[in-house]
Symmetry: none
């Protein structure tokens, strides 16, 4: 729908934009697959179907490209979180929805996890300077705080829960399982990526969080 702007804009602009997007998309794949250090600009060019030279033309350097990719990834998940509308739901349902959303998002966006791992290896140097990431995040924390408070008032949830800690816990329970799936599968001698295993993990996560919250 938002792809159809009826009045086709100047094809010049379009091409440039399309190329840049193709590069960003290719870079996302490449960084996701190989991390920042392991990514190859050649391969990004190939994947995008453009000359390697264009990557530098539009993004200046590999590192800067990483920055853009990372920030877009953040923007995307924040945008998705914003569409959750947790405030409209009963507290327990809101938390359940957040858990399911987080789980699904990480499952469907494995690039996001790799990107974050790379960024943490580099001590968040590409984000910290970036435009208002905090602002992008806080809304959810505030929403979660409200949900927790509502739950507490209703007598459903325990009190004294820090929404930031809770958010990190929900994320961590999903993130670690998915991001470290390969080593965990080996360590426990089980394939932890089968549909069944994934389903069990989500159930477990939900039980842990709600089991903790609900009094």
């Amino acid at each position: 729908m938002h792809e159809d702007l009826t009045t086709t804009p100047s094809p010049r602009l379009r091409d440039s934009e399309r190329t840049q997007r193709a590069i960003l998309a290719a870079a996302l794949d490449e960084f996701a697959e190989s991390g920042l250090g392991g990514a190859r600009v050649d391969r990004i060019g190939e994947r995008a179907g453009v000359a390697k030279r264009l990557v530098f033309y539009y993004f200046g350097s590999k590192e800067n490209l990483f920055r853009e990719v990372l920030n877009e990834a953040y923007r995307n998940i924040r945008e998705a979180e914003r569409r959750l509308h947790l405030s409209d739901l009963a507290p327990a349902d809101a938390v359940r929805k957040l858990i399911e959303f987080t789980w699904s998002y990480y499952l469907e966006h494995p690039e996001f996890l790799t990107l974050l791992n790379s960024e943490n290896l580099h001590r968040a140097k590409h984000i910290s300077s970036s435009t208002g990431l905090q602002d992008l995040n806080s809304p959810l924390v505030q929403t979660l705080a409200d949900v927790l408070e509502r739950g507490r008032k209703d007598g459903v949830f325990r009190g004294g829960v820090d929404p930031v800690q809770l958010y990190i816990s929900i994320a961590g329970l999903a993130y670690f399982y998915l991001s470290n799936n390969a080593t965990l599968s080996v360590a426990f001698g089980r394939n932890l990526r089968t549909p069944k295993a994934l389903h069990e993990r989500l159930s477990h996560t939900t039980e842990v969080i709600l089991g903790y919250l609900i009094r």
Copy 2:
């Protein structure tokens, strides 16, 4: 035992062993700091105080060196886990101890986290082939299973808890917070590495897990 200095063997041999250990230690630092891809063999040599050439002499390739380092890291944590003796404790205490141990170990061994991240980026190709990692891990799972069962029988813990899931949850709650500390600190606009923040996280983690387990 193999530290016994009484029967001093040929100094040559001892030097050889010492050199290899220096290389392993240096490699651990380097891989921890930069990941597998970002690590530089030159720097490993420098850090170990030996010629870069020796790294190849003893370990053949950077990748193989990584394999050795990774496996040693695994052996170390498994060894530490083995010293926990959870079976001697009351169920809740055993779980609490496991949580605290996991947290402390990750906190004091950040290399381990980076190593695992690298290994997962490479889809566990360096462990999977390695010597009996499963065997090294299962004991703890079995112990945890026993603890859970004891707790359930005592009426303290809920039933139906998969020890593997629980173990992963305990690890994940600590791992994600520590491994992604840099981006989380930026995202939430809080320094999550202060002593106070670290203490709060451990408390929260314990509450979540025990709040979930205890009926």
Copy 3:
């Protein structure tokens, strides 16, 4: 005359001329600052406030642009020399005036020195083919020859002085000091660019040349 704004021609054409001049001026700066090899066409475009593409549109290639810039620089100094009117002066005054002119010109046009250095690095390949440079230069040599002859006849100057050698000496005494000012300042541990130092150099130069010429 070609600055006359009354008969405003088609604005298109005027813009074209203005653009070309802007490019030439920008190129002069850039070549002066970085030499032929170090100059960047992008930067010339930027400096001129036009698209880099225009540089090629109007001048074909970087090298050709250099040729134009260089020739304009030569035309400018020749034009300035022509305005000296040495023939109207007493011989010693004429020589003094030439020395002062040369000094001031080099001091105020450091680009000219850099341009010449570049051109000499390239063995004068951009000038030699160019339109009648010799013709542009000879007038001054002829004038200087006359001055010398007048001085000799008056018994003021020594005889047997080759005007070309003298011209090169006057230029060299100024050129070397200014062009190599940076290394000389380091070598002698003195800042040779202070107003005082510059003034002293001009005095010295004048004394050397006149001390030599005057019998």
Copy 4:
């Protein structure tokens, strides 16, 4: 003579040294021919008969190699100047010898001129930090000061001559003619590099300087 150290040292060391010298020599040629910016590391490798990689192995970067080459060039001329022993000569002979030496040195070491031009284009950034260049130069200035003073006392030379200015003048008269020979030849429509022209220039230079100095 100083090549024959009788007890052949370890061939390993020798090779390394020889290689480094080969690279320095090749670099000198390349920088002389093309300036710092125009020089190509590939070509330096080729000229030295070694892999381009070795250039970086031994010198780190092109710029650093330039620094070494430049400093060696300075050391060489300072060393040659030191062998002049001007103090042993009559004042006028000492000055004449300095002029002839400077002229010959520049004539036989055109690389030195190109190197200096490059260095001045870069505002002496590669020397300024270098080891005691001032110290290397001052001896000559002091010697020249003594010569001038002796000449003045003898009533041969005029007084009040700054040795630094004089040194720069002697250098400048030779340097400009040789360094700018290409453009000057075109400008004056004469080949200024023929043996005859060179000889005339040296005579002229000597006459200018001595004509100025001798009262």
